[in-house]
């Protein structure tokens, strides 16, 4: 089975006046289908930058990226946007739901915008996803009337709307209380196990990393360690 993500020799330098800051120094990262991987590291280790590069939101200064067999680091901006829409899902620390839309409309949005409208099939899938994340009774609730945990669950459903090859999550529990964070983590694990969705979760929280099948630690722009965790470990 080919890798969902195969990033090679990823380098990233930021210019700050006359000086350059090297954030990533030749990082290799491979994810197999169905993996739930945690990307760990201290603040400034380069983990968010790596996630943005893999998510095609940032262009690396070096290296190649292949997602589900397609080379993506050479794509134009428009092609990258299209690729993000069809093949990637995003969950951010702050859900950024569209406040003027219902839960169903928010979930359907990534499919509806390029298609020019929400079709019955899109609405049906959005409802199924919301039911899947435990919000069957909140389908037509405006986003503003949902709690923080519910909003993040809507964000997870939204990330899955277009059946992405890879879901990228940046501190998905960072803005939630402990109970809500546990629920969101359980949900991501459940979707990972039952639907086979591949997740790459960027976090600095050891408890989040402990729930994943693999933990990749970054330090000073390099991969410091990679640890595969068995199901027994992550089910603790």
């Amino acid at each position: 089975m080919s890798a969902v993500l195969d990033a090679r020799e990823i380098g990233m330098r930021f210019r700050n006046g006359d000086e350059f800051t090297e954030v990533l120094k030749g990082v290799d990262l491979t994810l197999q289908p169905g993996e739930l991987a945690a990307l760990l590291g201290a603040s400034g280790s380069g983990k968010s930058t790596l996630l943005s590069i893999v998510g095609l939101l940032l262009r690396p200064t070096a290296g190649t990226i292949t997602i589900a067999g397609d080379r993506v680091d050479t794509l134009s901006d428009a092609e990258r946007a299209l690729f993000r829409n069809h093949r990637l899902g995003f969950i951010f620390q702050f859900h950024h739901l569209l406040p003027d839309f219902t839960a169903t409309e928010n979930v359907a949005f990534p499919a509806a915008a390029p298609a020019g409208g929400i079709t019955a099939a899109m609405r049906q899938r959005a409802r199924e996803l919301l039911a899947r994340v435990g919000l069957a009774d909140r389908l037509d609730f405006p986003a503003t009337r949902l709690s923080g945990g519910q909003k993040q669950r809507v964000a997870i459903a939204r990330a899955l709307m277009n059946k992405p090859d890879l879901v990228l999550a940046d501190e998905p529990t960072g803005s939630l209380d402990r109970v809500s964070a546990e629920q969101v983590l359980d949900l991501m694990r459940e979707v990972n196990r039952e639907d086979g969705a591949t997740f790459l979760i960027c976090t600095h929280d050891e408890q989040v990393a402990a729930r994943c099948t693999r933990r990749i630690s970054l330090s000073e722009g390099r991969v410091e360690s990679v640890m595969n965790l068995g199901d027994t470990d992550r089910d603790k």
Partner: protein, 401 residues
């Protein structure tokens, strides 16, 4: 159309702010309509005042100018002098009348003999500009018969109509005789048949009306006429009609605008002032739309960032803001046109103590189509900058803020 649905949803998300924005646009459009209708009404009133008692086009004999003829080497060879052996007159006026009667743009025709004379009563002498015309067409150019304040509008044989100021200066009233002395040195006793009062001092003090038959021997003009005065269906066609008549008859054709160049200059200046006010009211409307949409784009940075992260195209994002501008512009302009029309209709009903209109406003000429199109187009253009800014947002930067 999903982008339109999103734009509408954004507008309805904050109804009070959207209502205020639309009200601002409507207010600007109302001001535009009011100014346009007022300037049109003023121009119409001034034009009506000027043309009510005068012709729209006057036909006269061509001007004869003394001139120098130059040879091939630019040396003076000969001088053409103006002949004064014959009276200046339009001899073929019957054929000219036939031509004029065939023109749909012509409303009334008055062939006239114009000249200068003195009215003498005792030791009092007053110069008058004489207009001699066909009694049946007395009102063709100026509605004199409706302005008779003493006597009647009946020229008859040896009759004369004079203005109220002139009658006052000479101590004359209807039925009294007066000595008429032309610039040809012919004297004749005429009877004042009627005294008119137009309200225009130049007419009431200096003009006298005779029948053309009475005038012929007095001005020694047995056949021709000196001028043909014409009223048009549309006074604003006067220039074109004058040009046509000049080319068709060879006569000098003078439009009322040419006769009243200063009035035309004033109307042009007034129209330009109006355009400036219109432009400023439109600019203020457009700045309002641009700033409101910029604020909206800034407030929604996070949402826009997430949309961009999901791969929603820049065109879609820009479309959401441009369509908001379009909707605000259309609704605001529509409401502004309605309120502007209502305001103009109400103002048109206001009258002075004497019953005349307080404001010379023309509600039908508020420039509704123009202001609707300009505001809508302007609103779209005003939304382009915020739309571009929103579409160009770096998703990563927007999400992380």
């Amino acid at each position: 159309m999903f982008v339109l649905a999103v734009a509408r949803r954004y507008l309805f998300s904050n109804p009070s702010q959207t209502a205020l924005l639309i009200a601002g646009v409507a207010l600007g459009v109302t001001a535009f309509v009011f100014i346009t209708a007022l300037i049109a009404g003023l121009a119409t009133r001034l034009t009506d005042d000027v043309t009510a008692n005068s012709a729209h086009v006057s036909l006269e004999t061509p001007t004869r100018l003394a001139r120098v003829l130059r040879g091939p080497d630019a040396d003076v060879e000969s001088v053409v002098l103006v002949s004064t052996f014959q009276r200046r007159q339009i001899r073929a006026w019957s054929s000219t009348l036939e031509l004029l009667r065939s023109q749909a743009s012509v409303a009334a025709i008055s062939p006239q003999i114009s000249g200068s004379a003195f009215l003498v009563k005792g030791e009092a002498v007053a110069p008058v500009a004489v207009t001699a015309l066909d009694p049946s067409g007395l009102d063709a150019i100026s509605p004199i018969s409706t302005e008779i304040v003493d006597g009647e509008a009946n020229l008859g044989a040896d009759g004369i109509l004079i203005g109220a100021r002139l009658a006052e200066n000479l101590g004359l009233s209807a039925g009294q005789p007066v000595l008429f002395r032309t610039d040809r040195g012919v004297d004749r006793l005429l009877t004042v048949r009627g005294v008119f009062e137009t309200g225009l001092q130049s007419l009431d003090e200096r003009v006298a009306y005779l029948s053309i038959q009475t005038a012929r021997p007095l001005f020694r003009l047995p056949e021709g006429v000196t001028n043909i005065e014409i009223k048009l269906v549309d006074p604003y066609q006067a220039r074109d009609v004058a040009l046509f008549l000049h080319e068709a008859t060879g006569l000098r054709a003078i439009s009322w605008q040419e006769k009243n160049a200063s009035l035309e200059g004033a109307l042009t200046a007034q129209a330009r002032t109006g355009v400036l006010i219109q432009v400023f009211s439109l600019i203020s409307v457009l700045i309002g739309i641009a700033s409101a949409l910029s604020l909206s784009a800034n407030r929604r940075r996070g949402e826009i960032g997430i949309m961009r992260a999901f791969g929603v195209s820049r065109r879609f994002i820009a479309g959401v803001f441009v369509l908001q501008g379009l909707l605000i512009g259309m609704v605001g302009a529509g409401l502004g046109c309605l309120s502007g029309y209502g305001l103009c209709i109400w103002l048109a009903t206001l009258t002075n103590a004497d019953g005349s209109a307080a404001l010379p406003i023309a509600p039908a000429e508020g420039g509704y189509v123009a202001v609707f199109a300009l505001t809508t187009l302007g609103a779209v253009l005003a939304s382009v900058l915020p739309a571009r800014a929103a579409a160009r947002l770096d998703p990563l930067e927007a999400i992380q803020q």
